[in-house]
C-alpha cells in the first residue's frame, strides 16, 4: 500500500490504470458483495424458515429503495426528502394497473416508468428553476405531503381507476402478485419473490457501480463537489441532476412495485413523512457516497424496528443487559418504563450520526480496514515468507 495516497471520492478503478491501489480495494469490494449476495441467494432459503425469509425479502426490497437515495443524495448531492413519493407512486401504479390488466408485465414497467416520469417533471421544475438545495428539500417534502393528503382522501366510491378503487386511508388490499412475463397464470410465490428481489437488488447494485465508474457517474460526483466548476467545463449540471433524479425515481418505483407484491397491499402511509425519514436515516447511517452502506443501514434499521415491536424493551429486559441500576436510572430520567419507542430511538440515531459520525458507518469502517491493512506490512511479509517456505 502506498501510504500517502488516498482514494478520491469516485471509487473508480479503470480511470487510474492498474497502478492505483484503489482498484484493488474496489475489486475486493465487488467480489465480496457478489459472493455474499450469491451465498445469501442460495443459502438463506435453505437455513431460514419461511417467515424469516419473508422478513429478509422485504429488507432486500427496501434496500433497493435505499440505493435509489444513495444515488440521488449520496452521489448526486441532491437531498430528496420525498423519495417515498416515488416509492409510493410505484406501488400504487403497479396495484392500479394490475387490477385493470391482470398480467404483470405492463404494470411492472409502469411502476418504474411512472415514478420516473414524475421525478423528471418535478426535477425539471426544480433544477431548471435554479432552486437551491435547501428549498429543494422543502419542496420535495411538500410534494410528498400533497401526495399523502391527496391519496388519503380518495376513500369515496368516486375515486376509481378502471377496476381499481383507490380506497383512501385504507389503501388497496389484495393486490395480485407478479407473474412471469407473458404467463398470467404462473404467479410468483413467496419463494420466487425472494429470488426476484435479491436478483434485482444485486442487479441494481452492480448496475449502479458500473454507472458510477462511467463518465456519467464521474460527472455527477464532480457536480456534487463543485457545480460551478463543472459548468465551466461545459457540463450542464441541471441535465445531469435531472437524469440522476429521474433514475432515482425509477429505482424507488421498482422498489415500490416489489413492496406492493410483498404485502399484497399499499396504503397512503407509504407516502408519509415517517417513510421518508427512514430512507434518509438508512443512507446517513450507512454512509453517503457508498452503495453498500445504505444497503447495510437499511437492513440494520429495519431489523431494529421489527425487533423493538416484537420484543418490547422494557425496564426489566433492559436490566438484564445493563444492570438494574442503570435501567432504573434510565427509566426514571425518561419518566417511563416502556423504552420500546421507535420514534425516540430513530431520532436519537439520526442525531448521533449527524453530529458524531456524519460520514456514516461504512466509510468509517473502510477507513479502519485500510488503516489496519496498511499498518501491518511486516505481518503480511512474514505471512508471505512463511508460505514460501
Amino acid at each position: 500500500m502506498n501510504a500517502r495516497s488516498r482514494n478520491g471520492a469516485l471509487n473508480g478503478g479503470a480511470l487510474n490504470g492498474g497502478t492505483w491501489n484503489g482498484r484493488a480495494w474496489n475489486i475486493a469490494g465487488l467480489v465480496t458483495v457478489g459472493v455474499v449476495g450469491l451465498a445469501a441467494m442460495i443459502g438463506l432459503p435453505l437455513v431460514l424458515e419461511l417467515s424469516s425469509l419473508l422478513d429478509v425479502t422485504v429488507y432486500l426490497i427496501l434496500a433497493i429503495l435505499a440505493l435509489s437515495l444513495a444515488l440521488v443524495w449520496g452521489y448526486g448531492g441532491t437531498l430528496c426528502f420525498g423519495q417515498s413519493a416515488f416509492f409510493g407512486l410505484g406501488a400504487y401504479a403497479y396495484a392500479i394497473a394490475m387490477f385493470n390488466i391482470g398480467e404483470s408485465t405492463i404494470p411492472f414497467l409502469l411502476a418504474i416508468v411512472l415514478p420516473a416520469a414524475f421525478a423528471a417533471l418535478l426535477g425539471y421544475f426544480m433544477f431548471y428553476g435554479r432552486i437551491s438545495d435547501v428549498y429543494l428539500g422543502v419542496i420535495t417534502l411538500t410534494v410528498t405531503l400533497i401526495l399523502f393528503n391527496a391519496v388519503n382522501s380518495t376513500a369515496g366510491p368516486e375515486y376509481q381507476i378502471g377496476e381499481a378503487r383507490l380506497g383512501g386511508f385504507n389503501g388497496i388490499p389484495s393486490i395480485p402478485p407478479l407473474n412471469w412475463p407473458g404467463m398470467p397464470d404462473s404467479a410468483l410465490d413467496l419463494n420466487d419473490l425472494f429470488y426476484v428481489s435479491i436478483v434485482l437488488l444485486m442487479a441494481v447494485y452492480f448496475g449502479l457501480r458500473w454507472l458510477l465508474v462511467s463518465r456519467f457517474g464521474r460527472v455527477i460526483v464532480a457536480i456534487r463537489e463543485n457545480e460551478q466548476r463543472a459548468g465551466f467545463l461545459g457540463y450542464d449540471a441541471r441535465l445531469y441532476k435531472l437524469a440522476t433524479f429521474t433514475l432515482g425515481g425509477a429505482l424507488a418505483g421498482l422498489a415500490g412495485c416489489l413492496f406492493a407484491n410483498w404485502g399484497a397491499f399499499v396504503s397512503p402511509t407509504i407516502f408519509g413523512l415517517g417513510q421518508s425519514a427512514q430512507i434518509i436515516i438508512w443512507v446517513i447511517v450507512g454512509g453517503r457516497g457508498t452503495l453498500i452502506g445504505p444497503v447495510v443501514g437499511c437492513i440494520a434499521i429495519q431489523w431494529l424496528t421489527a425487533f423493538l415491536g416484537s420484543a418490547q424493551l422494557t425496564k426489566a429486559s433492559l436490566a438484564q443487559v445493563v444492570g438494574p441500576t442503570v435501567a432504573d436510572a434510565l427509566s426514571s430520567v425518561m419518566g417511563f418504563a416502556d423504552l420500546s419507542n421507535t420514534s425516540l430511538i430513530l431520532g436519537a440515531v439520526l442525531l448521533a450520526f449527524v453530529l458524531l459520525v456524519p460520514r456514516g458507518v461504512m466509510p468509517s469502517l473502510l477507513d479502519l480496514a485500510r488503516f489496519l491493512v496498511r499498518r501491518r506490512p511486516a505481518d503480511a511479509l512474514a505471512d508471505k515468507a512463511e508460505r514460501a517456505t
Partner: protein, 294 residues
C-alpha cells in the same frame, strides 16, 4: 337565506379567513426568526409548537392561570429548551445547512418519542376560554378573535423591537449581513443562542395559543410543519413582512379553497400554490417585493 343572514355569513367567513391568516402567521413567526436571522431550517419547529401546547396545559393543570400558562409559561419553557438545543446541537452545525436540517429532523423524531413516552398518545387539551358569541344567526368563538388580536399585537411588538431597539438593530444588521454581529462587537455565539431561544419562545407561545383549539398530541407538529415552512420560505428572508404577506396569501387561499371544496383540497391547493410561488420567486415574496421592509 335572507339577505341579512348572508351578510352575517360573509362576516363569519371573513373572521374565519382572518383567523386562518393569523394562525398561519402565529405558527410561522418563530420559524421565520430562526430562518431569517440564522439561515437555519429548523425541522423540529412543529415539536416546539407541540411542547408549547404541553407546557401550557401542564402548567394549567398545576393551578397556573390559563392566560399566564399560555402567554408566559409556554414561551419561557420552550425558549429555554431552544437555548439548550442551540448550545448542544445546532452550534456544531453552522454553515452546514443540510446537516442542520437532518439534525433538527432527528430532534423532531426524538421529541415526539420522548413526549409520547411521558404523556402518551392521547389528545390532551383545555377548553377554549371565553365561549362563543353571536353574529346575527351565526355563532363564532370569541377565543378565535382573541388569537387574531394577540397575533396582531405580537407582530406589532416584533416590529417595534426591530425598529426601535438595540436588539432590533443587531437583528436587522444580521439579516442583511450575517457577519454584522461580529462587526458590532457582539459575540456571535451569544447572538445565535439568544436568537434561537427567541424563535423557540415564539413557537412555544404559538403552540400554547393553538392548544385550546386543536388539542395537543405528540405528533401534532407534523400537521403544522409544512404550512409553517411554506409560509416562511414563501415569504422570504424578511421576518415580518415575509411572514405577514405569505400568511395572508396562503391563509386566504386555504380558507377559500376549503370553503368551496373540502379541507383536503384546501391543503393540497395551498401547498401546490406554495410550490408554484417558490418556483416563481425563489427568494420569496420579500425577495422580489417589499425588499426594504423588515
Amino acid at each position: 337565506m335572507s339577505e341579512g343572514e348572508s351578510v352575517d355569513l360573509v362576516l363569519v367567513l371573513a373572521i374565519q379567513v382572518l383567523f386562518a391568516m393569523a394562525s398561519l402567521a402565529l405558527i410561522s413567526v418563530g420559524l421565520a426568526v430562526i430562518f431569517g436571522m440564522m439561515r437555519v431550517i429548523n425541522l423540529a419547529h412543529g415539536e416546539f409548537l407541540m411542547l408549547g401546547g404541553y407546557s401550557a396545559i401542564v402548567a394549567n393543570q398545576h393551578g397556573v392561570n390559563l392566560w399566564i400558562a399560555m402567554l408566559v409559561v409556554a414561551p419561557l419553557v420552550v425558549g429555554a429548551i431552544g437555548v439548550v438545543v442551540e448550545r448542544t446541537l445546532i452550534r456544531f452545525l453552522y454553515g452546514r445547512m443540510i446537516d442542520t436540517m437532518l439534525a433538527t429532523w432527528g430532534l423532531s423524531l426524538f421529541l415526539i418519542g420522548l413526549v409520547t413516552g411521558i404523556f402518551g398518545n392521547t389528545t390532551v387539551g383545555i377548553s377554549a376560554p371565553l365561549g362563543g358569541m353571536a353574529i346575527g344567526n351565526y355563532r363564532t368563538s370569541i377565543y378565535g378573535l382573541v388569537v387574531i388580536a394577540i397575533t396582531a399585537a405580537l407582530l406589532v411588538a416584533i416590529y417595534l423591537v426591530l425598529r426601535y431597539t438595540r436588539l432590533g438593530l443587531f437583528a436587522r444588521g444580521t439579516m442583511q449581513n450575517p457577519n454584522m454581529a461580529a462587526a458590532l462587537g457582539l459575540s456571535p455565539p451569544k447572538v445565535y443562542a439568544v436568537t434561537f431561544g427567541i424563535g423557540a419562545a415564539l413557537s412555544g407561545l404559538a403552540g400554547a395559543l393553538i392548544a385550546p383549539i386543536s388539542g395537543v398530541f405528540p405528533t401534532i407538529g407534523i400537521a403544522y410543519i409544512a404550512k409553517a415552512f411554506i409560509t416562511v420560505i414563501g415569504g422570504g428572508a424578511a421576518i415580518l413582512s415575509g411572514t405577514i404577506s405569505a400568511a395572508a396569501l396562503f391563509g386566504a387561499i386555504q380558507e377559500v379553497a376549503t370553503y368551496f371544496t373540502t379541507p383536503v383540497f384546501g391543503v393540497v391547493i395551498t401547498l401546490a400554490a406554495a410550490i408554484v410561488l417558490i418556483r416563481l420567486l425563489p427568494q420569496g415574496i420579500t425577495g422580489r417585493f417589499l425588499k426594504r421592509w423588515l
